[in-house]
Symmetry: C2
Subunit: 220 residues, 2 copies
């Protein structure tokens, strides 16, 4: 089977919104039994330590996937591409050129217009992970990103008025990215506007997926 079939390690922080994306993808692909999780404590800034940056992920972010041969894959989208294509039957990243294009567009849009914007707000305009970790903050930038995220909620609400899933007719990693945005919004107490009925209803449906329910369970 080669090294791809071996046990994999995920470096993450269980409740983190970005780690949630990969944990949901793992559950969607029935791969949870193939991974062990190693805690990197965000609250202690372990992801910003020089050793982590030098040996695991230059960008100093979570999660990171390590294959049994030591190969490292960082970035949620990249990890999802890897996991989704392991069995030759991609269900999250698209099968045809058109599906791949639309899913990647909406996945990226979910990041820049919503999830990443909430993250910048959290790290720059709230106490974030605390003064030891947040060694530089740009409050004005953080507040602008908060406003961008709220506009993003309205945008995705409009998308979900027209179609059942973020990238069209089927669940995909673009839905997982918006779920990441919703999780982060809850965390920073940035409520989804009442008027975003389609986004709220979609999120209700997402909560019923076993993969999301699995992530919601208390974790050790």
């Amino acid at each position: 089977m080669g090294s791809d079939a071996g046990m994999m390690t995920i470096y993450d922080f269980p409740r983190g919104p970005y780690p949630a994306r990969v944990r949901i993808a793992l559950a969607e692909k029935n791969l949870l039994s193939r991974v062990r999780f190693e805690l990197v404590d965000l609250r202690k800034g372990e992801h910003k330590q020089p050793s982590f940056i030098a040996t695991k992920n230059y960008s100093g972010t979570l999660p990171v996937l390590e294959l049994s041969d030591g190969t490292l894959i960082a970035e949620c989208t990249a990890i999802t591409e890897y996991l989704d294509n392991l069995d030759g039957a991609p269900s999250l990243t698209g099968r045809t050129a058109l599906e791949k294009g639309l899913i990647h567009m909406m996945n990226k849009r979910a990041e820049i217009e919503f999830l990443d914007a909430v993250s910048v707000y959290f790290h720059h305009a709230t106490p974030g992970l605390g003064p030891e970790v947040e060694v530089y903050q740009n409050v004005e930038w953080g507040l602008r990103q908060r406003d961008k995220a709220i506009r993003g909620m309205h945008y995705f609400d409009g998308v979900l008025r027209e179609q059942p899933f973020v990238a069209g007719a089927a669940f995909s990693m673009a839905d997982i990215a918006v779920i990441g945005g919703m999780i982060f919004s809850e965390l920073v107490k940035l409520p989804v506007p009442e008027s975003c009925g389609a986004l709220r209803a979609w999120y209700g449906r997402m909560q019923e997926r076993p993969s999301v329910q699995h992530w919601r369970r208390p974790q050790g």
Copy 2:
């Protein structure tokens, strides 16, 4: 053949670093004869006009691909996924799970650590596209992103000391993303440090590729 085989439109600005990524991908895939280009004048802020945002790309960025049936695909990575998979023989985005994972990781890293950082520097800490377009600037943030981009150059220099291409043994869209960073760096006069010999040598090799030479030619 269906709508995928029809003539496509690319909304872009020929000399833009992000448009360059898709133009290089089109040349790599021998698809230039299948597209027509429609100018969206960045200098006039046409990409930030409400009509462009409402009908072409919510994020107000270039390039955008429009298929003959009106389907829109924005974001360079998404457009490249589409173009690369049209013929069922991906050469830029990876064939195996491992290739896809590594290429997407390095492609994203090229964006966040280099290309996007140069872009933020340009739009926030230089005159950018001029006062009519740059209606909000955060100079401090822009300067930090400039410094991040320079660190990114050193990072990619280290990568290219170890392997011939950004994502490993073969040319991929991750190389194209770093090429985008180099093009943008030239534009904003942010020189690559002399000490980055491997990055400079790699860029010299990239200039020899017909796809990059095609982009370099004067365009109407």
